[in-house]
Subunit: 310 residues, 2 copies
């Protein structure tokens, strides 16, 4: 597996309620060689996050087909949900996994964006590492004003798409980019007061001087205050550090954390680091995990067969 | 890998200081087909724990050779250490991993014990699931009085070995058995008072009415109080539950936990469970871990190749 060339992609679709629509989009992406790693839908966000992985060309083809299907199935004029969005396929990040680089994913993202613009006639914005304009690196900036704002402003020079026409229909616009692996993590508060979640989000997010690599929004989800985070570099700000920061900020408002949830996938090292932190295991190494020790030992014995008693 | 027949064994040798001795014992066990998963030595315990895995016959042969080597290298009349012991090879548990049962390991342990008794002339006691007498199921009972006590009492009927002669030399006796997988976990207190560690151990261990599947000893290690545990069923008493119980008991003596350490290996599910507990992730599933999702998806796509758009 480690010898393969593999990228991951996590397309976010603006449908989290109608299962038949999500099924149709996922079926459109189901290509030979593409692994469907995860699929999670949130009716409050009215959004689905699909995680796929595989060889770069196969993943890009699967994404193109998913975007095409979503554009026919989802009508932004009728879409309501807690999560901000610009389009039917709202955002498509490409992530290097095995034997690929962020630069490879930038090139793939730009190629995919161009094809979506030209063949599907949708406005496309490139973001993060794939951005062509510095002011489009931040996803929050690209998505500012959401679908409704873009409908009004797409004719303005600063909102000119990177690919495709400067006009917008029921499928909205597609944001395509490349970034390192991230963890999407939501923390629910024992409170229905969204202003507390928004204050906490401001306190912890990097762009307001908070924790490195943390993006955060305060949302109201099913009547409950939620801090919705992206941890873009869990080795700089581990999950447990972000959660403890939220607990401390919430305590300042007299509020407790009720529970958390993962959206999509998390690297095993992020969970091992959290366990080692709370269990106070300063010398923990992943080679102490049975399953990893067996895999490493098999890999080693395959490359260096053991002799007897040497 | 999951198709293979594999057992694990974790022989404990009474040498944790002289590296050349441990090297010689490990080299004696280095057979084709046997994976060396872990090796950890503790100079205070004066003890080394080696974890090997592989096909049953190869593992048993490696164990026999390790026991034979340890008997020539280690002199119990000169051995001092914080950890109780009966012999040069103190205890040899066999553990089922893939496609084997505890009953298989019982049969293997009894066969190994008989061979050690007959070919090496060492007294052998069978314990845990392999015990031939109910009063020998508990390792603590078998090891009661340690080497020095056995030297005095081996002629008594109740100390008659299960295999080998009822006489004891510099290699002491060997305890062989079979058990389910366990986690060996030590918690250091910010205290040099071993009576606190002993009180905590009594409070949390199963045999004194504490936590199910928890064995615990209070020790003094390098001048520091330590609660040394075996968690024999981490699904009944998870690591984080045992650690929290120790923290609460320590707090009653006004003492804090300084750090913990793993001896040998831990199953990934035990760490995932600890992370999910402390991060408050009630709906966590291991399929949300990137590495596991990729493996499961590859296994699935190998058995059921994906068609296009079905």
């Amino acid at each position: 597996m480690a010898q393969e060339v593999m990228i991951e992609a996590i397309p976010n679709f603006s449908e989290g309620r109608r299962n038949e629509v999500i099924d149709a989009i996922v079926a459109a992406m189901d290509l030979c060689g593409v692994l469907l790693l995860d699929r999670s839908s949130d009716p409050d966000h009215n959004r689905s996050v699909v995680t796929i992985a595989g060889p770069p060309d196969a993943v890009v083809e699967a994404l193109f087909r998913g975007v095409r299907e979503a554009a026919t199935q989802i009508d932004l004029f009728r879409h309501r949900g807690a999560h901000p969005r610009l389009g039917a396929t709202d955002v498509v990040p490409l992530v290097p996994i095995y034997n690929t680089t962020l630069a490879d994913c930038v090139a793939l993202a730009r190629g995919l964006g161009q094809r979506i613009g030209e063949e599907l006639g949708l406005p496309v914005y490139l973001y993060e590492a794939a951005a062509l304009r510095p002011e489009r690196q931040s996803l929050a900036d690209v998505r500012s004003g959401e679908f409704e704002g873009l409908l009004r402003d797409i004719h303005l020079p600063e909102r000119q798409p990177d690919f495709g026409p400067a006009k917008i229909g029921s499928a909205g616009a597609v944001i395509v980019g490349a970034r390192p692996s991230l963890i999407a993590y939501n923390v629910f508060l024992k409170s229905g007061d969204v202003t507390i979640a928004k204050r906490i989000a401001r306190a912890i997010r990097e762009r307001n001087g908070g924790l490195p690599g943390v993006r955060a929004l305060g949302l109201l989800v099913g009547g409950q205050a939620q801090v919705s985070m992206n941890l873009i570099d869990f080795r700089r700000t581990p999950v447990h550090v972000a959660v403890e920061a939220i607990r401390a900020e919430a305590a300042r408002s007299g509020v407790e954390v009720e529970r958390s949830e993962l959206i999509g996938l998390i690297p095993q090292d992020a969970l091992f680091a959290a366990a080692a932190h709370y269990l106070q295991l300063p010398n923990f190494e992943s080679s102490q995990v049975v399953e990893i020790a067996i895999e490493q030992s098999i890999a080693h014995s395959t490359s260096h067969p053991l002799g007897s008693s040497t």
